[in-house]
């Protein structure tokens, strides 16, 4: 356990007045408050730290204890055990948007003020203090899936805070897409509605295709002779191989669109995007003497 310099956390020096401490705290709180930094874990952690520091330095009584015992927290263990009266002083709230946000005050804090200091749910006047939740807490979760997992709509069971939640993952969901599951967040307070569960999908591409929404893209190598004379090529799609006719005189980087061979459209059952194939013509190298001779003859015909 490390000594925590709460003065440093709030960016004030040890001679700062209570008004200066409060001003510094308010300024940092405005910067790192979870409501103005949604989905920002770093800001959330910083906010907790600031809150913890202000819990100590914002109250003269606590600040004195900290100044007295802070540097040598081991001695403060004993003090902390007898310091139950500090209980109920703390008002750190769990914020909507900071799920699982049990206020993790450092062990260091407990060593000085005792674990009972973590107790109270209200009464910390410095931070408005009141528990203001009505609707249950919104929760956030992230689900990583492979691209091939979202080819079809399927059920998934997630375990969140020890509770199993069965969700439907619609086919065609996008990378980074968030869905809201109403009422699957924290329990409402005083009869208020339950919070929502937000799931962000991290879709990893485990295929040879590139995806943009419901269209898939693929570059296919085409040998020079097929490009010049035309012919057939076999193309892999997500549902098996298809044979494509290649027109004589196909240019490099030309594209062919295969309707309905792309990715499922989000929440549009049985509807799919397109597969766009780009031909990349491979020019033969390491020619044999015979080949070189024939190419030279061809070149001659062009003159």
């Amino acid at each position: 356990m490390q000594y925590k310099d709460y003065y440093k956390v709030l960016g004030v020096n040890k001679t700062a007045t209570q008004a200066e401490v409060k001003k510094a705290y308010k300024k940092l709180a405005r910067k790192y408050h979870p409501d103005v930094n949604p989905n920002d874990k770093d800001a959330e952690a910083r906010f907790k730290e600031i809150n913890e520091a202000y819990q100590v330095l914002g109250k003269e009584e606590n600040r004195k204890k900290y100044d007295q015992f802070g540097q040598d927290w081991k001695h403060a263990d004993q003090y902390g055990q007898g310091a139950g009266s500090a209980g109920g002083q703390r008002g750190y709230q769990q914020y909507t948007g900071s799920p699982g946000g049990e206020a993790d005050f450092a062990d260091f804090f407990e060593s000085i003020f005792g674990s009972q200091a973590r107790g109270g749910s209200s009464g910390f006047s410095g931070f408005g203090g009141r528990q203001t939740h009505f609707k249950g807490e919104d929760m956030q979760a992230e689900l990583t899936l492979q691209l091939t997992d979202v080819l079809t709509t399927q059920k998934r069971t997630l375990t969140l805070n020890g509770k199993n939640i069965r969700i439907t993952v619609p086919a065609g969901i996008e990378n980074d897409q968030r869905i809201r599951l109403k009422g699957l967040g924290g329990k409402g307070v005083n009869g208020g509605p339950d919070g929502d569960l937000y799931i962000r999908f991290n879709i990893q591409n485990n295929t040879a295709f590139r995806r943009e929404k419901d269209n898939l893209y693929k570059t296919v190598d085409l040998d020079l002779y097929t490009a010049v004379l035309g012919g057939d090529v076999l193309i892999d799609t997500l549902d098996g191989q298809v044979k494509l006719k290649v027109k004589a005189g196909t240019q490099s980087n030309s594209q062919v669109r295969l309707k309905g061979k792309g990715f499922p459209k989000y929440k549009q059952d049985n509807d799919k995007g397109d597969l766009i194939v780009t031909y990349q013509i491979k020019v033969p190298t390491n020619l044999t003497d015979k080949e070189r001779q024939l190419f030279t003859e061809l070149q001659g015909l062009q003159k």
Partner: protein, 100 residues
Amino acid sequence: MSINSQHSIEITTLCRHYQVEQAFFTQLNDIGLIETITIQDTLYVDESTIRRIDKIIRLYRELDINPEGIDVVLNLLKKIDDLEQRLSTAKNRLGLYEHD
């Protein structure tokens, strides 16, 4: 906005819960932060507004931001959210070319 008693909450209930005056909610309504509905002389808000009210109350109490300031904050947060979504879409599109 359509409203029915099943999905609405009386403002007086919220006043008790948040310990604020009714005038506070009237002010929020006046500057367009929330939409209140009057039914037979009783003020209500739709249940779906609660999350927004929760956030407004926190910003008001904990960061000392007045309702007009909260309006600016929420508009900017919305803008950031839109930009983040556009960034995410752009990143996904960029992925198309990174593999070439």
